[in-house]
């Protein structure tokens, strides 16, 4: 919603510091919220000021001239695109995740992907441009045409980020939503995950990069190093993220 304004003001205040520590402005995928908030408490070199939103929205802000220090995306496509445009340094993959169907923890009639094709079932998913929506559409493209169109007919909302999908399931507006396993873990038992068939599971890889023109490139690099092996990696693991998938697997 107001992420654009928030990110702009965060970027604008990036040089101001409190307690001697610089403010490290981090634009991160909505699904990273819990893990990064945990990590920030252990990251000593700077104070993290994060804006969490759909990775596509954050990438679009960077294209429009917003300059955070770090960009962490729920895919590798967006950081790679920004790298090719010379807007970020070379991205690295730092985590993996698993796409699942989130349903209410109790009383749900959904126990498989096929259940989502039944008439009357209400589904929320990410919009086509946000990574979680792209992964979801990849899963659906692996289904026979007739099945995927039955499922798509049940979609009631295309949310701008994964937080929106989780919200729609949590509040009972829909029966199920496509989210990451870490999002289900973060609801403290309110939601449970229905796994996708292994053959349809997309490879979910998170990419991160230092933004070119970052005010604090040194701390940004240290932040990324911690994600690859250190407090950041531990926070990711605790939040249920998987190790970065091996390339090409």
């Amino acid at each position: 919603m107001l992420v654009a304004v928030a990110a702009l003001s965060a970027a604008g205040c990036g040089s101001s510091s409190s307690g001697g520590k610089p403010d490290l402005v981090v634009s991160a995928a909505a699904s990273l919220k819990d893990a990064f908030t945990q990590y920030a408490q252990h990251f000593q070199q700077a104070r993290m000021r994060a804006s969490f939103a759909g990775s596509d929205q954050l990438a679009a802000q960077i294209q429009q001239g917003v300059r955070p220090d770090v960009f962490a995306s729920a895919n590798t496509t967006l950081p790679n695109q920004l790298f090719q445009k010379g807007l970020v340094e070379k991205p690295v993959v730092f985590a993996g995740n698993r796409l699942v169907i989130a349903v209410p923890a109790s009383g749900s009639k959904i126990s498989s992907l096929a259940d989502l094709e039944k008439p009357g079932v209400k589904i929320a998913m990410g919009s086509a441009s946000v990574p979680v929506g792209t992964y979801t559409r990849k899963v659906l493209s692996g289904l026979p045409q007739a099945d995927s169109s039955k499922l798509l007919a049940n979609v009631k909302s295309n949310e701008p980020d994964v937080a929106g999908v989780v919200g729609k399931v949590t509040e009972g507006a829909v029966d199920a939503g496509f989210v990451y396993i870490t999002d289900v873990d973060a609801t403290d038992g309110k939601l449970k995950a229905v796994e996708l068939p292994k053959s349809l599971q997309p490879q979910v890889a998170y990419g991160v990069a230092v933004v070119k023109g970052a005010k604090h490139p040194k701390q940004a690099q240290e932040f990324i190093d911690g994600l690859l092996g250190g407090a950041g990696q531990r926070a990711l693991k605790a939040a249920g993220f998987e190790p970065p998938p091996a390339p090409g697997s």
Partner: protein, 278 residues
Amino acid sequence: MSAAALRAPALSRVRGWFPALLVLALAVALVFLFLPVVAIFTHTSPGKLISSLGDGSATDALRLSIETTAIAIAIIVVVGTPAAYFLATRDFPGKSLVVTLIELPLVLPPAVAGIGLLAALGPKGILGPALDHAGITLVLQTAGVVVALTFVASPFYLRQAQAAFISIDRSLFEASRTLGASEARTFLRIAIPGAVPGLAAGLALAWGRALGEFGATLMFAGSFRGITQTAPLAIYERFATDFDGALALSAVLVAVSAAILLTVKALAGSGAFGGAAR
């Protein structure tokens, strides 16, 4: 030295710099408020703007925005006009509390409005089971968009309408009643015609607010093309992938909002627009 002697030169100096300060403040306000609007139209070429509107999702979003705001405004005017008249013409204990409650959505963040609507009318909300029993679903439906718009926009109308009724000369009401007219007749024949400029101003403000609604709509009604994705939601979605498309849709929304404002102003008669607002 007497106090008067001290004050005189100070006052004459004030005459010089103070008006200049006022002009400067106005200039800053104008540039700040107008620059983003100008930028929407100049950031890209008109040809690109028009071609970006060619795809169906843009026209779907605009159509939905016009329809849902028109319905919301109709509801607001039909219910809000008598409610505002009551507040303007009656005194009762707790009136200031009622007025404050009515104005509260003015200062609520849209996200709070969205959460509030869910807590009240969502499937797990206070009235959720009752609505479900009656077979009414609001979330993720076009009706839910209308509810969200009505919630955030109605205070703009209620406030303005109340002020408009208050500003009518009391003696007109008394004369009407002395001549034997019922209160309903007085309301229809004296109060409403007298308040038209203020009512129109409120209508324009409420309509503009409804057209721009984003947060409460997204949280309560979701975002689905043709059903709940209004123009602001479509702009947000396009921002990620198609900046020109987002600009084009924004330009249309600016034009529609300005057209509503100007039309209502013209209908209400020039000069009278702001009069009743006080």
